[in-house]
């Protein structure tokens, strides 16, 4: 029994024999405890990850819950045709890409700038103090972020809204939370507040890895502070910036569902709807299961293509890919 229980550590170490070639029954018996430990996890992935993937078939059906996955009538690409010829698709794509563009321009550089500024701070205690404070919003929920936005920008009692109102000399009050043209600025503002502090961590880690001798050498060569920044500090974080840029563009269809949904209301829906919130609204709230699933499937497939495309591009550019 003892030989049976002990995994063949020697065999694994020698690597001369592919363990995958073991007869299934022998393997199951020999590693029964390990397989037993896998079962709960595998059940989870089967139920909550792979069963929903099977459920994507309803994008090609007119799904009726009563009839189920097998009983509902098949309709081929009807929902996709409706999506691409209807008015929704253009609006969803535009809203999503526009937000992605604004994020790339305003949100992406923010942590880089903050990290570079933090790196120039010479008082360690003050640096840690600032870090501790600007990391806080990362841990707060989007619900809290929305509530703060509401308490600051609401038309009735919003603090900042009131300040702007009196600074601009009165006039009609602006309802920032309802007016469509203020939706995107608020999204960007929230993202800046929530992510630009925490985002510095990865860049600060890269900056911490810079060999102090490089600065020393640069000084020897007569480089002042500014030239040390351009020729030592900035090159040191360039690979990190590239990797983060690839990661971000691979996920550019993924706005935070919670953030967008919380800011959406009946007045700004035309500019607010992105793929995920539209899927929830049409699918779960209105019961248009099949159409919403088709929209979700389109977004999922486009997302996979984007991720692999960005990875391929990264490798072409000579960067270490993500996988």
């Amino acid at each position: 029994m003892a030989t049976d229980l002990a995994p063949p550590a020697t065999k694994a170490a020698s690597k001369d024999k592919r363990p995958d070639r073991l007869p299934v029954r022998t393997a199951l018996l020999r590693y029964r405890w390990l397989y037993l430990m896998l079962i709960p996890g595998l059940v989870y992935f089967a139920l909550f990850k792979y069963l929903p993937m099977y459920g994507l078939t309803i994008a090609f059906q007119d799904f009726v819950p009563f009839l189920g996955y097998s009983g509902s009538p098949w309709v081929g690409f009807k929902h996709f045709e409706n999506l691409f010829t209807g008015p929704d698709f253009g609006r969803l794509l535009f809203n999503t890409l526009f937000l992605a563009l604004l994020t790339a321009v305003f949100v992406f550089p923010a942590p880089i700038i903050v990290a570079l500024l933090l790196n120039e701070l010479r008082i360690g205690v003050y640096k840690r103090f600032v870090q501790s404070l600007i990391y806080i919003p990362h841990f707060l929920s989007w619900t809290i972020v929305f509530s703060l936005t509401y308490l600051l920008f609401s038309v009735d009692f919003g603090l900042v809204a009131g300040w702007i109102h009196s600074l601009t000399g009165g006039g009609a009050k602006v309802d920032y939370l309802a007016q469509p043209e203020w939706f995107r600025p608020l999204v960007i503002l929230q993202l800046l507040w929530k992510t630009s502090g925490w985002g510095t961590i990865i860049y600060l880690a890269a900056l911490a890895g810079v060999d102090p001798n490089l600065y020393e050498a640069a000084r020897m060569d007569g480089a002042g502070r500014r030239r040390q920044f351009w020729h030592v500090t900035l090159p040191a974080i360039r690979p990190t910036i590239v990797v983060m840029a690839i990661l971000t563009s691979g996920n550019l269809l993924d706005q935070s569902f919670e953030q967008i949904w919380l800011l959406t209301n009946s007045l700004n829906r035309s500019v607010a709807d992105v793929f995920d919130t539209f899927v929830y609204y049409v699918g779960v709230q209105q019961g248009g299961y099949s159409y919403a699933t088709a929209v979700g499937l389109f977004k999922g497939v486009a997302g996979v293509i984007l991720i692999f495309g960005c990875n391929w591009l990264a490798k072409r550019l000579g960067q270490r890919g993500l996988f």
Partner: protein
């Protein structure tokens, strides 16, 4: 983070003395700018805290304050006497505690066998896990599965669909692979089976990473708004996040109507108080969170 920051400071700014005027001006501006940034970050939170201790009249009369004129606790007295609010707090605490234990248990038990390179079928299972990182069924099919399992309006719907984060699973698996194998083998030779090895040898060695991922999971459940939005309709089963949303939104009137009616109702103060209550536990654990999360970010980035 404190140790890392100390290293950062020590490494990145090795006694650099600049005495030029431009350099000193920059340093001063930098200190002011970053201080301002820190202020912008925390001022909204202070304002909300102050508002939760202010009277209804002061909230509507004064544009801004960080310390209320009349310091009152009547808003909190109302909160802690209100069934809907208390139930939401209790629900959130229980769901977070049970969920975290379950998630950590499932993640670590599954990661251990996946870390064994000699296990037949391991590559296939790993690939199946990794695939879920880039593609999934999406909102509606997942919703239908949860509904078919009869989990709508059940607290389990807030836990089970998120039971294992595949990304965390892979990080924990990599951590197990790095553990020295000699101890495990010694235990096996002593007649321990794999489950014994896992509990007696591996888990005690993993305490720091268990702490890190417990915090990751706990914060995620505590802050989760999407799951209750999707799966919970019964307002008796609201979590704190849902309540915060219901009370601080342009259509808050509907939600307030559903709260048990009482003579004194702090409509304005309540908006501030619920935000404080939903934020406070996060801020209480903040020193641990900061330390463990920054470690987690760096583990993740290294493994990518």
């Amino acid at each position: 983070m404190s140790t890392q920051t100390a290293e950062t400071t020590a490494k990145a700014s090795p006694v650099r003395h600049y005495s030029s005027l431009g350099s000193r001006v920059f340093d001063t501006l930098n200190v002011i700018l970053l201080g301002g940034l820190a202020l912008i970050t925390v001022l909204p939170l202070f304002y909300v805290l102050a508002g939760s201790f202010a009277t209804e009249g002061e909230i509507s009369a004064r544009p801004f304050f960080l310390w209320p004129e009349n310091f009152v606790t009547s808003t909190y007295a109302f909160v802690f006497a209100n069934d809907t609010l208390l139930r939401a707090m209790l629900t959130t605490i229980v769901v977070t505690a049970v969920g975290t234990v379950l998630q950590v248990t499932l993640t670590f038990t599954m990661a251990y066998p996946l870390a064994k390179r000699y296990l037949p079928g391991r590559t296939l299972m790993l690939n199946l896990v990794i695939f879920t990182l880039v593609f999934g069924g999406g909102i509606v099919p997942t919703y239908l599965v949860v509904r078919d399992l009869g989990l709508l309006d059940s607290y389990w719907a807030l836990i089970l669909p998120l039971a294992i984060n595949p990304f965390y699973l892979i990080i924990v698996k990599s951590f197990f692979q790095e553990l020295p194998q000699a101890l495990e083998e010694a235990a096996r030779i002593d007649g321990c089976n794999e489950i014994g090895v896992f509990f007696k040898i591996v888990l005690p060695l993993s305490k720091p990473i268990i702490a890190t991922f417990s915090l990751f999971y706990a914060v995620a459940i505590w802050n989760d708004y999407m799951s209750p939005l999707l799966y919970i309709n019964d307002n008796q089963k609201w979590t704190l996040q849902v309540l915060v949303r219901q009370l601080t939104s342009p259509d808050a009137a509907n939600a307030i109507g559903s709260l048990d009616s009482v003579a004194f109702f702090p409509a304005e103060g309540l908006k501030f108080a619920v935000v404080v209550i939903a934020t406070l536990p996060i801020l209480c654990f903040y020193p641990f969170l900061q330390k463990h999360f920054s470690k987690g970010v760096l583990i993740g980035s290294v493994k990518e």
